[in-house]
């Protein structure tokens, strides 16, 4: 999955709930995409912002005569995300991608799987669900958010998933509560052999723990503040335990972004410490 650096063009930008869905024509990015990959975007003009902003690739599809457009889900929170969210059709954006040394690994056998996503970070799970279904894996999905506006389209999810559990903090849609609350039951019902999780670190940790208790593997998509996204800057350290049992510091961008949940030293990650 060799990345490219291109000047992309905004093909469409649509507000859905709290998020802006930005679709880019970025030649070479969509063609190389695998679920769990992300792009690094230059924001602003005039060289004021040296650091890139990373976004999960939500969807790759043919649109407007282009073979593989790339859609990102942007939650306008800071200056960079607001800048991208306000780009208009035809605007140009510098993009590097698809990035990530390790996207989601797919099971070789058609085993049942549970996908767990929260907020905008659930973005990479939809393309993953389609790939898993192509492999005849029964797909179960847990989607969470603080409220309905921050929930990624559950309708779309119902097309690919056998069972969908929705949970919101305010109970505006689905059950009231957190993703962690519904995980044990979802795991038990699905009989999942693999849990794929994307969301805030606390949710990933909960998914990794729940998977371990049920004897399932877990694959978690880490989200770290990114400076380059390409593995050069060493600014996204993740404390992990190597195959040999030795504590190490991995880079979320190139050694991840998807790692085995049982390899992450979650307490150190929460403390912001590394080996």
């Amino acid at each position: 999955m060799s990345p490219v650096h291109v000047t992309a063009e905004v093909l469409a930008s649509k507000r859905i709930g709290a998020y802006q869905h930005v679709t880019l024509v970025a030649p070479g990015v969509g063609e190389r995409f695998r679920p769990g990959a992300f792009v690094a975007v230059s924001v602003g003009t005039g060289g004021y912002h040296l650091a890139r902003r990373a976004f999960w690739i939500h969807q790759v599809r043919p649109l407007g005569g282009y073979a593989a457009t790339v859609t990102l889900v942007v939650e306008p929170r800071g200056e960079g995300t607001r800048w991208l969210a306000t780009r208009q059709r035809g605007d140009r954006v510098e993009v590097t991608g698809p990035l990530g040394g390790r996207p989601f690994a797919l099971p070789k056998e058609p085993v049942p799987v549970l996908l767990v996503g929260e907020g905008y970070a659930a973005a990479p799970l939809f393309a993953l669900a389609e790939r898993l279904r192509e492999r005849d894996c029964p797909v179960n999905l847990v989607l969470g958010a603080p409220d309905e506006a921050h929930l990624l389209s559950a309708l779309e999810a119902r097309r690919t998933a056998r069972a969908v559990t929705i949970v919101t903090g305010d109970g505006s849609v689905g059950a009231r509560g957190s993703v962690a609350d519904v995980l044990p039951e979802a795991l038990r019902r699905s009989g999942a052999a693999v849990v794929y999780a994307a969301g805030p670190a606390a949710t990933l940790h909960a998914a990794a723990l729940a998977a371990e208790e049920h004897g399932a593997w877990s694959q978690v998509a880490l989200e770290q503040r990114t400076t380059c996204g390409t593995g050069l800057c060493l600014g996204c350290p993740v404390p992990v335990v190597g195959e040999d049992g030795v504590a190490r510091t991995a880079r979320a961008c190139t050694d991840g972004p998807v790692v085995r949940g049982d390899r992450v030293r979650w307490d150190d990650l929460a403390r912001g410490a590394s080996a």
Binding site: S2, P3, V4, H5, S42, G47, Y48, H49, L50, A51, R52, E94, T96, R225, T227, C228, T230, G231, L232, C233, L234, G235, C236, P237, R248, T249, T254, G272, A273, S274, A275
Partner: protein
Amino acid sequence: MSVRVAGLTLASPVLVASGCGGTGRELAAYAALSTYGAFTTRSISRDARPGAAGPTLAETPAGLVHATGLPNPGLDAFLATELPWLLTEGARVVVSVVARDLGEYAEVARRLATAPGVSAVEVNLAVPDAAELGVLDAREHFHVGAAVSTVLRELPRGVPVLAKLRPDPVRVAETVRVAADAGAAAVVLGGALPAALPDGRPAGLSGPAIAPLALRCVADARVALDAAGADCDVVACGGIGSPEDARHALDRGAVAVQVGSALFHDPTTAARIAAALSPDEGA
């Protein structure tokens, strides 16, 4: 456009700066490593360094503050795996080194002296948080001179020493004279500026924010070296992100430029500058 830098003939005046090209593999995805005049490694120490606790980088206006703690696999692992890979990719390799003291500098240089494929050694005397990291802190000129001569003494003829220095315009003239006297074939101006992360931890500031400062250092260094009759090149480094930036530095007497943090923003920056400066472009 082949150029002479520190006695070496390089294919381009555009080099990858230390600490900004990863192990080389990450950068090789965007352009062949032979595109660059040389690939400068991240600073290698005798023993492996795991790196600092994160988060270690923060964006500032037109810059970055960083305190990554010089993570590297240590000299043995570097020589066993990373250096051979760089050479098979066709890179000219400048090995950046850092050490606790002069004794350790000598030890590192002795082992590099027998490693095939080391084009030059860059002594990192510009670590902005040296005291915190426990590496030699080149506060005074004699630290610079001692480190350069210590490393040079161990290297075979034909492997030049580059001294990477702090971009301190007040002291640059004297510092470069001392480095040249000690035998540095080139001075690199400069490293990150001493700064602090938002939580107050010592760090370095890099990026376009320091470019005017680095340019002043380049110009003053060239004047000072010429006045002293020193046979020592100036390599510009610090905030270079465009062909114009590179030309400004070359116009002020630099023989080459190193591209660093701009690679974080766009991994093709150094390759694009190299292409723009090549005579095929009619520049």
